[in-house]
Amino acid sequence: MRVFTAAFAIAAGLIVLIGYFFPDQLGSLQVVLIDWAVIIAAMAVLIGIYNLIAVQMEKIRTRQKGGTYGALAVISLILTFGLGLVLGPESPYMRWTVEAIVVPVEASLMAILAVTLVYASIRLLRRRMDFTSVIFLIVVVIYLLAIVPTPIGAISPFQDFVRQAVEMFSSGGARGLLIGIALGILLTGLRVLFGIDRPYGGN
């Protein structure tokens, strides 16, 4: 069975990949395989939700710390899921659920994150006092000075110069990092395609 799953995964991956280069020969088969993958992904969400419920129920059952929040999460999930099935995702009540509960909660986390990042920057030199950390902080401060509005209005020449200089260096550096990341993704994908890495439990 394991050999079969590995062979199927490798064949499907190769067909989808090569289909991009030879669309006339493999394009239709590629579309079919991607459609199957989309269906499997949708089923995976249901399994994932089951996993989430099971983990929270375990917390409640064994009276672990945070069990109350777990119960709240499970009840909210069941209510939202049930409402979604009955009313449909386009219902105004469903939209209200998202806009009045989910969005504000995530916005609050975003606000906490802003404070957290400022705090992390302040503590950076205590954690790691080295040349690159100093440069990192200096660039952050200079760039912030260049983009924030000042009480006397914009200091255009300074701000324009800083913005251009920082963006020139940062875009060059970012491209270098992105090339490295792209190469890493390419090689990771090839390892999976060849069946060397089998995250689907084949080895």
């Binding site: 990949l17 280069f21 993958a37 989309v38 992904a41 995976a44 969400v45 249901l46 399994i47 994932g48 939700i49 996993n51 989430l52 099971a54 983990v55 375990e58 672990q64 710390k65 945070g66 929040y69 989910v102 909660v105 995530e106 986390l109 975003m110 906490i112 994150l113 957290t116 990042l117 705090y119 992390a120 920057s121 950076l124 954690r127 790691r128 990192f136 270098g176 990092l177 090339i179 490295g180 990341i181 190469l183 890493g184 993704i185 390419l186 090689l187 990771t188 994908g189 090839l190 390892r191 999976v192 060849f194 060397i196 890495d197 089998r198 995250p199 689907y200 439990g201 084949g202 080895n203």
Partner: protein, 244 residues
């Protein structure tokens, strides 16, 4: 066809270098974060604590899946190495298919180590389906489960800052990286040992995942040099006025 040529070239190099690396193990420069990771694994086994591995929310159906696969490769090796521990690592992810694969990878790791009975399906968890709900769901795992090291590797956005902050509050080791550049800068400011750029994809090689991972790093280096040469050549031709 040029892209296809590069792909075939990379594939051939990978296979050839994997065979070579099986006979001649590679030696790489020291990366402090992976040194700390290896120490943390040993420490977790010895003192009965556990590792928390966060794989992010990179869907395998998007370009972000590459970092998730790199995280899974590392997870597989860590599962094997911690199979003797009383407390198996807990893995959180923000994508359903990734959560299922993390369970499968944990099980494979234990099976390979001859300790399949150690596997618990609730150690591979989906904690949320949006970036912030994922982070909010992962925080209790970092706080309440006797974690001695947090390893964040995969596709995360700036919400990774919340995880890094939680790790610092609990005073546990944090090894963090993402394939997102903004998040890398967040981790640079908040992690003890950040990983920059493509160092994320070196995880397998540095935790001893095998010759193919060593070979991958060699192929990346070769391709990077070819790109550098191509850029220099292009710049030179442009200066000379060639129509490129």
């Amino acid at each position: 066809m040029f892209a296809f040529g590069i792909l075939v070239f990379a594939a051939v190099l990978l296979l050839a270098l994997t065979l070579w690396r099986r006979r001649t193990p590679a030696s790489f420069r020291t990366i402090d974060a992976y040194e700390r990771l290896n120490r943390s694994v040993g420490l977790a086994v010895e003192n009965g604590s556990r590792l928390h591995i966060s794989l992010g929310h990179g869907s395998l159906f998007t370009q972000r899946g590459g970092s998730a696969l790199a995280g899974l490769a590392m997870l597989r090796r860590l599962a094997e190495r911690t199979s003797v521990s009383d407390r198996p690592p807990v893995v959180t992810s923000g994508d359903a298919s990734l959560a299922i694969l993390s369970q499968d990878t944990l099980q494979s790791g234990y099976r390979a180590a001859g300790a399949e009975e150690q596997y618990r399906f609730n150690t591979g968890r989906l904690t949320g389906l949006t970036p912030f709900s994922y982070a909010a769901g992962a925080l209790p795992a970092m706080r309440d489960e006797n974690v001695s090291a947090n390893i964040i590797i995969g596709n995360l956005g700036i919400e990774g800052g919340l995880l890094a902050d939680a790790s610092e509050r609990e005073n546990v080791n944090l090894i963090a990286t993402s394939d997102d550049l903004s998040t890398q800068s967040v981790f640079y400011a908040s992690a003890q040992e950040p990983l920059i750029g493509e160092e994320l994809f070196a995880a397998g090689a540095y935790v001893g995942a095998g010759a193919s991972h060593d070979a991958s790093l060699n192929v990346q280096d070769i391709l990077r040099w070819l790109i550098i040469l191509a850029i220099l050549l292009g710049a030179g031709l442009k200066i000379l006025g060639a129509p490129i």
